[in-house]
């Protein structure tokens, strides 16, 4: 401890450990640990292996402080959460106008796997439903499937700050049972909305959904968006700042499957969930939330994850359109101090 820098960094690691905000998260985790509702996805055998009691909550602030409770190292497949971020990469590859001409951004009342296109334009409804995500994956540049996948993996690495692998059994299972997605792709090909490299694009789509992440990664993904597209820990830019708003707004309107409207109203945090049990949620300019808990509700969203986001939003006034002063002041709870009673 010879210089001030070391003292400061040790002190800040200790204050993160003792931060009332971390204690709040511990209590929140405890509060919902015993909530045994919902069911683990089992449409492919690999997902059914997830333990219903797995439960991790991680929050990363736009300043790069990391708070985590529970199973934040447990890996699972990112599933639909990938869609939001691949949409961002497609925007970087082609620009807004072109991407919009291929995929609409309209929420749909239909299920995520419905085979419905916009009647007037033949575009899939939005990048978060399967059809839209396949059309988006089609837009990812690269000379072959390998290079396109590599670009997707590198993008995720910029967001999370670490390398990601594909869960091969999940990928193969998704591919083997993905006839409905295949049908959608061909329907879109029929309308000229996707290129004819259907198999390669579907592989990419199934692979992007099979990327393994943990709750901390999910918090990093959203914290990076919350921080204007720059990973707040590594300081690396993950996405062109012009497209941050595109990704976030589509998450707000379409991110939680057909619970998105109610979510936007009640929680007010742009978010994306996946059937693997993950949710990533953004409080722009403030923080990113990553939750992992496999049991899903009827609409396909993690039951405990929803509760955690609801509580965080309510307790710290994180709802996008909240103007009332919240019960707890986020900055005070993170920094600790006299005004905070976390006992």
């Amino acid at each position: 401890m010879s210089n001030v820098g070391d003292l400061q960094s040790l002190a800040s690691s200790i204050t993160a450990m003792t931060s009332p905000f971390r204690n709040y998260l511990i209590d929140l985790h405890e509060k919902y640990r015993s909530l045994n509702e919902g069911a683990v996805a089992d449409y492919i055998p690999e997902l059914a292996l997830a333990k219903p009691e797995w439960f991790g909550v991680c929050v990363v602030t736009a300043e790069g402080q990391v708070f985590e409770v529970g199973n934040c190292d447990q890996l699972f497949t990112i599933q639909s959460i990938s869609k939001a971020f691949v949409f961002g990469l497609a925007l970087e590859d082609h620009g807004r106008e072109y991407v919009n001409s291929k995929v609409s951004v309209e929420p749909t009342g239909e299920a995520f796997n419905s085979i419905v296109l916009d009647e007037a334009t033949n575009r899939p409804y939005n990048p978060m439903v399967n059809a839209g995500a396949i059309a988006t994956a089609d837009l990812i540049k690269g000379k072959d499937g390998t290079e396109r996948l590599k670009r997707v993996l590198e993008m995720f690495k910029r967001y999370t700050g670490r390398e990601h692998d594909i869960n091969v059994p999940v990928f193969l299972s998704e591919k083997a049972t993905g006839n409905r997605n295949r049908a959608m792709a061909y329907l879109m090909l029929n309308f000229g909305m996707v290129s004819d490299k259907i198999d390669e694009t579907l592989d990419l789509y199934f692979q992007q959904c099979s990327i393994m992440v943990n709750a901390r990664d999910l918090a990093m993904l959203s914290a990076t968006l919350a921080n204007g597209g720059v990973n707040p820990v590594t300081k690396e830019r993950a996405i062109d700042e012009r497209y941050v708003q595109d990704v976030i707004s589509v998450m707000l309107t379409c991110g939680m499957y057909d619970a998105s409207g109610e979510w936007a109203y009640r929680v007010g945090l742009p978010a994306k969930s996946g059937v693997g049990g993950g949710i990533t949620a953004i409080a722009p300019g403030k923080l990113g939330i990553g939750t992992f808990s496999p049991p899903l509700d009827a609409k396909g969203n993690s039951v405990r994850g929803i509760k955690v986001c609801e509580d965080l939003s309510k307790d710290f006034g994180l709802h996008l359109f909240n103007v009332a002063s919240p019960e707890r002041n986020l900055q005070e709870w993170i920094a600790g101090g006299d005004g905070v009673n976390d006992w």
Binding site: M1, Q8, L10, A11, I14, T15, I26, G336, G337, W343
Partner: protein, 252 residues
């Protein structure tokens, strides 16, 4: 809201364990539920003052840190040992005095976050009003942690140049950790010192309140850590000074 009180000094042998034991006992005797944790894992000792013998210890703080049980399982009700009756209660979470256990924790270390979570769990499980933390001298992760979470930090110093300098270091750390309230206590002041002048000088040096000045006392030496001083000699001036400091903890 429960209150966490850490007792610290940069140098060893200043009287931390004595202060912790006397202050915790005084507060408990006034009717509060009080817990004491001996975080001096490398050289535990406060159990002696509370007359808790190693043979009576099953689980310890070490067991908790090794994931062998909840922290409250390592808490011993020592109210009777110090004559605390009625609504007041006094619990001690001792550190293990077994050489093997000490070696193991020094060698393998432990996740300091567990200490933070353990303090909180203990307060909840035993419904404590006060948690006193006795610390190892000097700076270490657990010292930083206990300073960071405390509502009141008591720094003990002797009138000695080495202590003065060490206290300045401890104060730097405390400020860096945004500590809420600091009380200084001067211990082992010899009889030739003018207490008022000493108090003033120390308060000016560190810009913090001196909560009490304790003389170098033959009687404390004689008790030789075999009990809590203010229980044995409730009317002694030293015990009165402890009550004065306890009052400032309760009010502060």
């Amino acid at each position: 809201m429960p209150k966490v009180v850490s007792i610290h000094s940069y140098r060893g042998g200043t009287g931390k364990s004595n202060f912790t034991a006397n202050l915790a006992t005084t507060v408990a005797a006034l009717g509060s539920r009080v817990g004491v944790v001996d975080t001096d894992v490398p050289s535990p000792g406060i159990h002696n003052l509370f007359c808790l013998e190693p043979e009576q210890m099953g689980k310890t703080l070490n067991s908790y840190l090794w994931g062998e049980g909840a922290i409250e399982e390592a808490a011993y009700d020592i109210s009777a040992n110090v004559g605390v009756e009625g609504a007041g209660k006094l619990f001690l979470v001792p550190s293990s005095v077994k050489a093997d256990d000490i070696a193991r924790i020094l060698k393998d270390g432990y996740d300091v976050r567990l200490m933070n979570d353990g303090f909180r769990n203990l307060v909840k499980a035993l419904q404590l009003d006060y948690l006193f933390i006795d610390t190892h001298p000097g700076l270490s992760k657990e010292t930083f942690l206990s300073i960071a979470i405390s509502h009141v930090l008591i720094i003990i110093l002797r009138p000695d140049k080495q202590d003065y300098q060490g206290t300045a270091v401890a104060m730097d750390v405390a400020r860096q950790l945004n500590v809420r309230k600091v009380l200084l206590a001067i211990n082992k002041a010899h009889s030739k010192l003018n207490p008022e002048a000493l108090k003033q000088k120390v308060e000016e040096t560190y810009s913090e309140t001196v909560a009490g000045i304790f003389p170098l006392s033959e009687d404390i030496v004689q008790l030789a850590s075999e009990g809590v001083f203010c229980v044995k000699y409730p009317e002694h001036p030293v015990s009165q000074e402890f009550r004065k400091v306890a009052q400032q903890i309760i009010e502060g």
